[in-house]
């Protein structure tokens, strides 16, 4: 196996990876839940609080102005990285969940009337499902849900059929956190646009694994969380096309998002501030910039190539275990392996893996309807990041084998 990543060197940059649990070196395979942070990111946040901390915007003093500039430079950098047309198309939020809720509420108010519907896929994370379900509920409707086939891919024919039912908004995940499936979002966006329907892409699982390009995808909204791409918790991004964001009403109220305020009436500030109510998480935004620079420097292509090798090796190794059932075997898959062994409950498997120092996630992965689709209570999920190794996959395989023996 060859790779252009120097993984051993990369691992040195991530302090958590040196942890021991139950006296065993930690094998961290829960990256789809959250990634670990490199020193550079931790240091950036620390440096902010030790030397630069200040509330931003409207401050005329030095610290405030420096912090504001750093914050706005992060916005510009991120806009450039994902190839947005304008930096004010980047709205900082608390995370993917807040980003989706913001769009559901605000775009919902703009576009949706009684009887209108939203189209999603059958593999959405609850965060890209319940907000839309709620809007539909308020309109007296139900979600339109594109079917998932047996290997865990979106059924594109069914998707097209549902587009013809005239949903007002489409919301789809880029990569399934539970299955690893990479949706053909570019094609799905193009299809929706032929019906003039705006599309939100849930990129929570994609940004750490591939370069995303807003011009190329042409999505109307793209959302992701910092903590899933090596950045601190408490910050996320909402990218939205200027033309939509300009038209949409504000979501939260207070702080910097206003222009003129009287007790009778309030007029709102321009983009991006209209959507950034209250003191932003400046430190985390700077950390997010540092994290994304780290990923960019490591190289999106090199990361994807390496993670693909890990994925292939993982399938191959785990596949040698008797009774192994992979849940989700899409042709295009990112760094996630969801599985069950025989009739063993995922909770039992996860508990024993933990005792052997291996951190995987078990359960429904906030995608209950998807589990229902496969008629399973949940899965064991191993999810990879750029710092995982082939040796760790060997350890995982060995541990699963041992746990299965104990449980059989």
């Amino acid at each position: 196996m060859t790779t252009s990543l120097n993984v051993e060197a990369l691992r040195q940059a991530f302090p958590v990876l040196n942890q021991f649990v139950y006296n065993k070196p930690l094998v961290y395979l829960d990256n789809a839940a959250t990634t670990q942070k490199p020193y550079s990111v931790i240091k950036r946040v620390q440096q902010y609080y030790e030397h630069e901390n200040c509330n931003i915007h409207r401050g005329v003093h030095y610290l405030s102005q420096q912090a504001t500039e750093a914050f706005e430079n992060s916005r510009k950098y991120i806009a450039g990285l994902i190839n947005a047309s304008h930096s004010h198309e980047i709205i900082f939020t608390r995370g993917t969940t807040e980003s989706v809720n913001l769009v559901a509420s605000s775009l919902g108010k703009l576009l949706m009337k009684q009887g209108d519907r939203v189209l999603i896929t059958g593999m959405e994370h609850h965060s890209n499902l319940i907000p839309w379900q709620q809007i539909c509920h308020e309109n007296g409707t139900q979600l339109l849900v594109a079917r998932i086939n047996d290997v865990g891919e979106t059924d594109l024919d069914h998707y097209k059929y549902l587009l013809e039912q005239g949903p007002k908004i489409v919301a789809i995940t880029h990569i399934s956190n539970a299955l690893g499936t990479i949706n053909p979002v570019k094609e799905m966006i193009h299809l929706a646009h032929t019906f003039n329907i705006p599309v939100l892409v849930d990129g929570a699982q994609s940004v750490a694994h591939m370069q995303v390009d807003m011009q190329d995808l042409d999505c109307d909204f793209f959302v992701f969380s910092g903590h899933k791409v090596y950045a601190p918790m408490g910050v996320g991004v909402l990218y939205g096309k200027e033309s939509w964001l300009e038209k949409m009403p504000p979501y939260q109220f207070g702080g910097e998002m206003v222009d003129q305020v009287s007790f009778e009436k309030t007029t709102y500030n321009s983009l991006p501030f209209k959507f950034e109510a209250g003191t932003p998480n400046v430190g985390a935004v700077l950390g997010l910039e540092t994290a994304l620079r780290f990923v960019e420097k490591t190289g999106f292509e090199a990361i994807a190539a390496y993670e693909n090798e890990l994925l292939a090796y993982g399938h191959q190794q785990l596949g040698t275990i008797e009774g192994m059932r992979f849940i989700g075997q899409a042709a295009k898959k990112a760094a996630v392996i969801s599985f069950l062994v025989g009739n063993i409950h995922p909770y039992d498997l996860g508990t024993l893996l933990d005792k052997m120092g291996i951190a995987v996630r078990t359960g429904h992965h906030c995608a209950q309807p998807l589990m229902d689709r496969f008629q399973i209570p949940g899965t064991v999920r191993a999810s990879f990041a750029l710092y995982n190794t082939f040796e760790e996959i060997d350890k995982l395989t060995e541990a699963v084998r041992r746990a299965v023996t104990m449980l059989s």
Binding site: H345, Y347, T351, L352, M406
Partner: protein, 141 residues
């Protein structure tokens, strides 16, 4: 047998093993024991959702004592269910209410009773204590 006596017994059963693997093997064996609950009670009515694993609990009151049967879909959870039931079933409401469950710590299975584990066990214990409370009230009246 008193609650304390049974607890002591269980602690001894586990103390034979130093290794976590042996402990878990024992726990799994306990979990594999014939179902602790009558099939007719394994319904949504008796279900305690724990998100990760599900627990069913049934209570019967007779002659001043409460008899519990329970089950789980995960075998490790079921093992602990077994341990708890062995201790608490057939006891008086008062004794159940007073029962100190920290013996689970001594066995080295503490983490399974963490409220953050979402395996249904914490809710099951709550439910058991609730039953005890209700029957105690009934007795007092």
């Amino acid at each position: 047998m008193t609650i304390e006596a049974i607890q002591q017994q269980i602690i001894e059963e586990f103390s034979a093993f130093d290794d976590w693997m042996d402990k878990y093997n024992l726990l799994i064996e306990m979990g594999k024991d014939t179902p602790l609950i009558d099939a007719q009670y394994k319904t949504n009515n008796h279900l305690i959702t724990g998100c990760q694993s599900r627990v069913w609990l049934h209570a019967k009151y007779k002659d001043g004592k409460i008899y519990f049967t329970a089950d789980s879909d995960a075998v490790i959870t079921k093992g602990i269910v077994n341990i708890l039931i062995r201790v608490l079933s057939g006891q008086s409401p008062e004794d159940i209410l007073k029962a100190d469950l920290s013996y689970i710590d001594n066995i080295g299975l503490k983490e399974h009773l963490s409220p953050t584990r979402s395996n249904g066990l914490v809710s099951m214990i709550k439910q058991i204590k609730l039953y005890a409370q209700v029957y105690k009230l009934k007795m007092d009246n």
